[in-house]
């Protein structure tokens, strides 16, 4: 159990550290790297929560796909100029206030609702064989969204082509 908790804290530290570094680094490439760190941390927590399938997808899709896309774009466009500039704008004080308030409010709500949540001793029946269960579910109850999601991807492809292609 101690080990279990220990994992959580380690991963939490990775996630938060990565997140903070993502938004504070000047260099966009560094930001992307720290984003990967956060994403992997989240994947770790997924594993921790018995969501093996999602953990795998997180690594493949996010780390392997989206982040690489980010890096492509960062390389594609010239970011030297951006790197030299101040990274924070002038109203950062105001924005910081907003952010802190947001923390306070969300925290308050979670605090209010804390009694409702407690992890019972784990390994419920439902979560066994995670990947299989998800597959059953995706092709059963969630068939429609699953199919529609393919159209979503189609739209994304068309959009990307229209926007990024040099000449149509």
């Amino acid at each position: 159990m101690v080990l279990h908790d220990f994992f959580f804290y380690i991963l939490a530290a990775i996630i938060l550290g990565g997140g903070i570094l993502t938004i504070t680094r000047r260099n966009a490439v560094h930001s992307a790297i720290f984003l990967v760190m956060t994403l992997i941390g989240v994947a770790g927590l997924f594993l921790h929560l018995q969501a093996e399938f999602l953990a795998a997808v997180q690594v493949f899709l996010y780390v392997g796909g989206i982040t690489v896309l980010f890096l492509f774009v960062i390389m594609l466009v010239n970011l030297d100029e951006a790197a030299k500039q101040r990274q924070f704008n002038r109203q950062w004080g105001l924005a910081l206030g907003c952010v802190l308030l947001l923390v306070a409010e969300v925290g308050y709500f979670l605090y209010q609702g804390r009694d409702s949540f407690s992890f019972a001793e784990s390994s419920g029946v439902l979560l066994q064989n995670n990947t299989q269960a998800i597959a059953m579910s995706l092709y059963g109850d969630y068939l429609l969204p699953f199919e529609i999601a393919s159209l979503l991807l189609l739209v994304a492809i068309i959009g990307a082509v229209v926007m990024a292609k040099k000449q149509i």
Partner: protein, 506 residues
């Protein structure tokens, strides 16, 4: 899955197929493809509308895909509205697409996909489907907004729309996640039941081998979730304080796309907004009604005041669309059957008059949207009497002059609000609609009471555009003189939407 399930999404299937055909056409047939695209798009829309009509009456249809979709009169109403809007936009953009040399195939395909997404939004009864439908239509809209790739303002508004849109989507998703946590469900009806019973569905359905894990619904989480959901939907309908993207995006987008966004997308967002809040969250109405109250009032005030100062017509119409969202929120605040019907009627009326107005703006704007300033309209009444006359009709309807659809829209809204004892909101709403008259009239003044400052070419109206103008004008008058049929439809749909709740029927 059964055949009946497939029939329920037949309209969406037809649209998707039409979209794909439109897109592939360019690959096989280089010539004339540009002319075929609108035709196929229209055929697809017609077919989809036929598929909706085929399932009449919508009263007795069961939910499809395990409660995922609900093709009731409510969603049928919105489906028909979306198809109409999309068809009018297709017709009115044929000139524009040719003029600006846009990629016709992709343009029409994206329009069709966006329409499909909106249709899914209107009929989905599950937060997952709502989310996916919303994203399909949003992603397509992001692209459509930036469709004039070479124009800095267009891509800029696309970027703004995209960044802020995904920002708001994140809020929406967070709200959904917390709602899921609080109730254990994503299906709207189940959420409703869970909130009603104050027990989450997991507990309710707990099988013997599982000890009930979680007790009552944590109200605090529900509250936070409602606030976050509100952020997401209010952003999409451009209600204050989440209206801020609207003017920039509407101004930079190609004019037909602006027409589409301000009518179709707004209506779709309202459809979802209504369904989620009226079906799933009816139980906590006493909390969110005040959000609506304030948001509606602010939308009207801010929209109208800012519109007073605009010189760009598109921007003015953008601000006015914020104000109109405010009027609609007034009816929403009533959260009654009458209120829902009023929202639906207003959306229909608003869609027709606004599309008409944007069609005029689009036609008159000429190549590169050069003539979109108020002063360019000076003396239009003498150089293009019919164009100006139709614009006048649309503007009068937007003001809410009797005998036009806009009048009855407002009338029903304020009636619903009064019946719900929202006296102050009604008074302020009526006051606002008086302010609004001013800036619409300004355009009319420019058209009829100012000599033309410079010679601005007015191109001949082509048949497609002419049809759009005449159709919207006729429909605007029709809604103003015989509003009954549409209102009956809306009332029935609203009654049907809400009646299941009372019985607690799934």
């Amino acid at each position: 899955m059964q055949t009946s399930d497939l029939i329920r999404i037949l309209p969406e299937i037809i649209l998707a197929v039409a979209g794909i055909v439109v897109m592939l056409l360019g690959a096989f047939q280089k010539q004339n493809a540009g002319r075929m695209h609108p035709a196929i798009a229209l055929l697809g829309l017609l077919g989809a509308a036929g598929a909706i009509a085929y399932q009449y009456p919508w009263r007795s249809l069961d939910p499809a895909f395990g409660g995922m979709l609900e093709l009731d009169a409510f969603s049928a109403f919105f489906h028909i509205l979306f198809f109409l809007v999309a068809a009018l936009v297709v017709l009115s953009s044929s000139e524009y697409v040719a003029q600006e040399r846009l990629a016709s195939g992709e343009y029409h395909a994206l329009l069709l996909f966006a329409t499909m997404g909106m249709g899914l939004m209107a009929s989905s009864n599950d937060l997952i489907m709502i989310f996916i439908g919303l994203e399909i239509s949003s992603l397509a809209s992001y692209i459509l907004v930036g469709f004039r790739r070479g124009v800095a303002t267009s891509s800029e508004s696309s970027l703004k729309y995209f960044l802020l849109g995904s920002f708001a989507t994140a809020f929406l998703l967070y709200g959904i996640a917390l709602m899921f946590g609080a109730t254990g469900a994503t299906n709207l009806t189940e959420i409703h039941l869970a909130l009603q019973a104050e027990q989450n569905t997991v507990t309710a359905m707990a099988s013997p081998q599982l000890t009930p894990l979680v007790g009552p619904v944590p109200t605090a989480l529900v509250g936070l979730s409602i606030a976050l959901l509100f952020v997401g939907f209010a952003f999409k309908v451009s209600a204050v304080p989440f209206q801020i993207w609207t003017p920039d995006v509407y101004q930079g987008a190609p004019t037909p796309v602006t027409a589409f966004l301000s009518t179709g997308s707004k209506a779709a967002a309202f459809a979802v907004f209504l369904r989620v809040f009226m079906v799933a969250l009816e139980g906590s109405a006493q909390d969110w009604v005040w959000l609506l109250w304030v948001s509606g009032l602010l939308s009207m005030v801010l929209g109208n005041l800012a519109a007073l100062l605009q010189t760009n017509i598109k921007r003015m119409l953008a601000y006015s669309s914020i104000a109109h969202a405010g009027y609609i929120l007034v009816a929403f605040t009533a959260h009654s059957e009458e209120g829902v019907a009023a929202v639906m009627f207003y959306l229909a009326a608003y869609a027709l008059m606004n599309i008409g107005a944007f069609a005029v703006v689009s036609h008159f704007g000429n190549r590169g949207e050069r003539y979109v300033e108020m002063e360019h309209y000076a003396g239009l009444g003498y150089r293009a009497p019919l164009l100006a006359a139709s614009m006048t009709v649309f503007l009068l309807s937007l003001i809410g002059i009797p005998l036009t659809g806009g009048f009855f829209g407002k009338f029903y809204i304020f009636r619903a609000a009064l019946h719900a004892d929202l006296v102050w909101l009604t008074v302020l709403g009526v006051l606002n609609s008086a302010i609004a008259a001013y800036y619409y009239l300004r355009v009319i003044v420019f058209m009829y009471m100012h000599p033309a400052a410079e010679q601005i070419p007015v191109e001949r109206v082509r048949p497609a555009m002419g049809f759009v103008l005449i159709f919207s004008m006729a429909a605007t008058f029709l809604l103003g003189i015989f509003p009954q049929a549409v209102l009956d439809f809306a009332s029935q749909a609203a009654a049907l939407l809400l009646e299941n709740l009372g019985n607690g029927v799934l």
